[in-house]
């Protein structure tokens, strides 16, 4: 039974996050604590008013502004669960997620007071190939493990699963409660497979829309298209794409989650200049080398006085750059820290997320180039890899997955 260590890891992680917060508060100074720790007023977009509407054509968590916290929970279906049971399960997940998104306690919530602060809670539901085949549905051809990459050191128990829940919110108590509710309400259908917590900057700590930094200190995710753009809609929903997946996935997308260990100790040995050359961006602004602003397009042809490429051939931005319009993905990421990682020691890294209507066509070529050559490979190691189908959203009265089962 692997439940116990998994559970304790979650507890430990919560503890680590909490103590990190305390340290930050201490460092911030006493004056800040006395002057600024005023509870937010209703209507200022925090806490109770911070609602991400659940219902709609797409699942809200895909397009919502990334939250401060995310918990990724993967499950396997119990062996005897039939399509009729999956239908009941999806109804429960949908209704509970929808209510908690509005700060309303779900049915049979024994801690209803914990549900009243949605803090931009979103719950995204993903299907693994096992669930699709269990209901006799048609799987898109990309729904399954990614092809192996030379850099991979994958642990099977850290990836895959029949069902994925991504619980995002700006408040860790909200994440904890929502995850608890959804797990205990579905224990007749599911058994836990793996889970992990990710974090970004606390809400309000930097201007909205600021690109996140990973634990190497790099601006991470600049090139991802904005959800309001046609580029995003094409990459993620397949709007206007030449080929499409099964009908039940219209309005949905594909999803890749990679747990990438980042070796902070060896990264410590690298000086600032080499760090910038490795990624191809300036550390302070996030601008591509040779550019001035984060949003500047990398000039991959620029050469310095010695005739060397300003952005080296091995730089991450060069290797990761889409070679054609079909390779565009929407990406998101959360940092993570574990007291006991795959080596049984503290582990830090990035939970890398890619949204693409066809991950095989859009994501795999990029990953292949990165595996062949990317200086960042020296300090990063993928240990977990999962692919899920993210079905479309639904309307009140429906449920996520009602196009499939």
């Amino acid at each position: 039974m692997t439940t116990a260590p998994r559970f304790s890891r979650r507890i430990l992680l919560g503890g680590a996050a909490a103590s990190a917060g305390l340290v930050a508060l201490g460092a911030g100074g006493q004056a800040a604590a006395s002057q600024h720790l005023v509870p937010p007023e209703p209507g200022d977009g925090w806490g109770k008013d911070a609602i991400v509407p659940f219902y709609g054509p797409h699942q809200a968590g895909v397009v919502a502004t990334p939250a401060s916290h995310a918990r990724f929970l993967a499950f396997d279906l119990l062996p005897d669960i039939q399509p009729e049971g999956i239908r009941r399960m999806l109804r429960i997940l949908t209704e509970d997620a929808a209510r908690m998104a509005e700060g309303q306690p779900p049915l049979a919530d024994s801690e209803p007071e914990l549900a009243v602060v949605p803090a931009h809670l979103s719950v995204t539901i993903g299907f693994g190939p096992g669930l699709v085949s269990r209901v006799g549905g048609q799987s898109p051809d990309w729904l399954g493990p990614l092809p192996p990459f030379s850099i991979d050191r994958l642990q099977p128990e850290l990836g895959g699963g029949d069902l994925l829940l991504i619980v995002q919110a700006d408040d860790l108590v909200t994440v904890s409660h929502a995850s608890r509710v959804l797990t205990r309400q579905t224990r007749s259908f599911l058994q836990p497979r793996w889970n992990i917590d990710g974090f970004r900057r606390a809400v309000g700590s930097e201007p909205a829309g600021t690109t996140m930094r990973n634990l190497f200190g790099q601006v991470d995710g600049t090139a991802s298209p904005d959800p309001q753009t046609d580029g995003f809609r094409r990459a993620v929903w397949g709007a206007g794409a030449s080929h499409s997946g099964p009908a039940w996935l219209a309005g949905g997308t594909g999803y890749v989650l990679r747990r990438i260990v980042m070796d902070l100790d060896t990264w410590d040995e690298v000086d600032r200049r080499d760090r910038e050359l490795s990624v191809g961006r300036h550390l302070d602004t996030g601008a591509p080398l040779g550019g001035e602003r984060e949003s500047d397009a990398p000039d991959l042809t620029a050469r310095d006085a010695l005739g060397l490429p300003v952005i080296p051939d091995f730089a991450h931005v060069r290797r990761a750059r889409a070679q054609n319009p079909h390779e565009v993905i929407a990406r998101r990421g959360y940092n993570y820290e574990l007291d006991h990682g795959v080596q049984g020691e503290p582990e830090s890294g990035l939970l890398f997320e890619a949204f693409a209507h066809d991950p095989q066509a859009q994501f795999v070529p990029i990953q292949r180039r990165l595996a062949e050559m990317d200086m960042m490979n020296l300090w990063t190691t993928p240990v977990g890899s999962s692919v899920f189908a993210i079905p479309p959203g639904c309307e009140p009265g429906g449920y996520i997955g009602d196009t499939l089962v």
Partner: protein, 166 residues
Amino acid sequence: MLLQRGLVAGAVVALFVSLTAGCQATDSAEVRVVDAWIKATDESMTGMFASVENQGSSDVTIVGAETEVAGMVEIHEVVGGVMREKEGGRAIAAGETAVLEPGGDHIMLMGLNRALLPGETITVTIFLGGGDSVEVAAQVRDFAGADEEYVPKDMGESAEHGEMGE
């Protein structure tokens, strides 16, 4: 105890504002039932819970209920950790809300003729006395609590409750 109940009632009134598929409200005259759910079980009895709001100007009483999955239904209370039939049913004063919850007053479904599975919806008719009734769609949910010991008092009386109302 009273304070606790007040808090839960407050939360339920807030739920009222935006009703989703899971918490269908059912109107009968001036009684609204929201957030009805039943504890999943594969045994012979289980509890049903809900918030029953009396929006009218006169008192009502939940005197019984009926559903095709149960041979018998009683209104129960929990006293000293022991569950028993509530004499005279559950009265709800005008303007008040009865919170039927685990550990408190609830509707007991007995003689179940099949397992009740999480996520399914069961139709229950609640009898309000004076010939009034309200039909409720209650969703079945896994729940670890609501395991009070049941001490049957008088089965004859309970059977009568099942026949009142209509």
